[in-house]
Assembly symmetry: C2
Homo-oligomer: 332 residues x 2
DNA sequence: CTAATAGTGTCTTTGAGACAATATGGA
DNA sequence: TCCATATTGTCTCAAAGACACTATTAG
């Protein structure tokens, strides 16, 4: 149904559709506002960040919220609206925006999610390479990339301790669905001691809590989000974690050229757990179409020494076969 | 954003939010109608069917469309609206509805998808056991379960020859995303000859085209769908195919108790390809929490003989580990 | 009685993961 | 020099898939 039932006006003449449409009065349907909200993720200094804006208006004035805005009725598609809002908020031009992955995340329409009126928001998820500092667009006081570790997303760090995440579906957190993988992260024992002397915390890794994403010991108070945006961000993170398992989208967080170690850093940051460098390396190169060598090598070795790594660019594959499954899934 | 920007009214008094909300005029936002549409799938006689209604009003009068309707602004959530519409259209009571799996599929908002006005629809996907015949609710002329093989969904049978399907994401067909798996089905060679004398076409299997879902040799003209509903159904099928890989949701198509062969029938019908009976059997029983034995056995053996199969019910797992991956994914 | 079906066993191949080993270059 | 890092090699185990085999029962 796209809407015909119980509300049509001017359904008198039985001629052709054009006559009907001309006589149609579009003001007979229930009043719901439609917005798009963007969960834009990027990596900064090895930590996952979300783009947030500080609200300048009521309600939730002064609270951080997802960037977004109204869909221009009849003028743009949902996808276009999301791209427009993202561009406005980040100040990105079309060229930069091309390198950003944007996909629909899901829609949220609890009756009272906005105290002012019924609002349905279509959430989008974006993966971006390290972008210039955000500028506050619209009437937001400020816009900034905030580490996800600083957000209050639910019971735990990432707000996923009672919900069943998703291999990619949309509304999966709301029913018995469950997507891919994603048992409660907290319930999954992290390999705390993994044999002596292994690159568990080496390299450009991130300070991590037992939960994953790094709030550092001096962690300030967790940031609450406006509306139901904490939930949306949590869903976005779930989706992102699942998505990089089966798609090469982890490369969307990096520049045109990257090393295998940098790619591994993306996975470690998004999943919040260290990966075995050697196995990861072999695995990435073995998946057809994931990455392809540029022939060049990095200008210098690792931070604390080591050979210069080879450079790669994203390959042509749209899906990873076989997939890079997250570790720690063994029930037993 | 849930909506504050560029449109707030009565933002004068700087008091508390309640005063602001009281003065707020909700009629300042763009006019978009919000509907829910349901892609309800079920198995009848071993073939996948979708619930459709014949439109009684313009436009597309007389054309088949997805069941759905307007969201009651401010009164119900999107999920609730979807459940309500599904109940109305199928005539199902709450008890029956409990056995139906319902999840959000994605939102569709092309500016001109409805010629009358801007309409955003939030599509839902439902998996149902074989239900009684549908009754035409609302102002639809008729409602019926239609074999998906009869639908005109795109280039091919299932309309998936140029799009990149999804392991579960929502808007994945619209960008470079790609979800799980789902290369063009047509491009994936089907094991046409698989050794002599194997249950390839035996049992309760379905007549199949090279594409999968069974249009029979006497196939009538493919049924066009109203609006962009062909696309939505195609997305729903993609999602369903991906979903049963990683979740036990295939059991949602069956009754309380079922045999392994019946479960295999679900996979074969949804995926459109035959599965090896022996391997499937062992696999299903080996995945923890997928099914659990009831202790009973079926009243009689297979259609053409054979031992009485044991009965199972759905287990407690929300996710399948390891997953039941679709066959035929080997690039090479 | 015949043929199809339920359920199990075996074997091969692939892939994941644990470790080991070697070479390289930063501090 | 010292040591972390890049990259490759080896070994083991789990799982998928191809087949074979046995028992059972509808027609």
């Amino acid at each position: 149904m796209t809407g015909t039932e119980r509300r049509g006006k001017g359904v008198g003449a039985d001629g052709d559709d054009s006559a009907f449409l001309a006589a149609y009065d579009p003001r007979g349907f229930p009043a719901i506002a439609v917005t798009v909200d963007i969960v834009a993720l990027t990596l900064r200094g090895g930590a996952l960040h979300v783009l947030l804006v500080e609200r300048g208006g009521r309600p939730f004035r002064g609270t951080w919220a997802l960037p977004g805005g109204f869909v221009r009725a009849g003028q743009e598609s949902l996808d276009a609206a999301a791209a427009r809002e993202l561009a406005e908020e980040t100040g990105l031009d079309a060229a930069h925006l091309e390198r950003v992955h944007l996909e629909q995340l899901g829609s949220y329409g609890e009756p009272a999610r906005d105290p002012r009126m019924p609002v349905v928001t279509v959430a989008y998820l974006a993966f971006a390479p390290d972008l210039p500092e955000a500028r506050g667009g619209g009437d937001a006081t400020a816009a900034a990339w905030i580490p996800v570790s600083r957000l209050a997303l639910g019971a735990h760090q990432d707000g996923r301790t009672d919900r069943t995440p998703a291999r990619g579906s949309t509304a999966e957190d709301r029913d018995r669905t469950a997507g891919t993988s994603g048992e409660p992260d907290a319930a999954r024992p992290r390999p705390s001691q993994q044999g002596p002397g292994h690159g568990i915390d080496g390299g450009d890794s991130v300070p991590r809590t037992p939960d994953g994403t790094a709030p550092g010991p001096d962690a300030p108070a967790p940031l609450p989000l406006a509306f139901d945006h904490a939930r949306i961000v949590a869903d976005g993170l779930d989706r992102a974690r699942a998505k990089i398992e089966y798609t090469p989208l982890a490369t969307a967080f990096l520049g045109e050229e990257f090393t295998v170690a940098e790619l591994r850093g993306v996975y470690e940051s998004v999943w919040g757990s260290p990966l075995h460098a050697g196995n990861f390396h072999r695995k990435v190169l073995s998946v057809p179409g994931f990455v392809e060598p540029t022939g060049a090598t990095a200008a210098r070795g690792g931070a604390r020494g080591g050979p210069r790594a080879r450079l790669y660019r994203a390959g042509g594959a749209a899906l990873l076969h076989p997939a890079l499954l997250r570790p720690g899934r063994d029930a037993s």
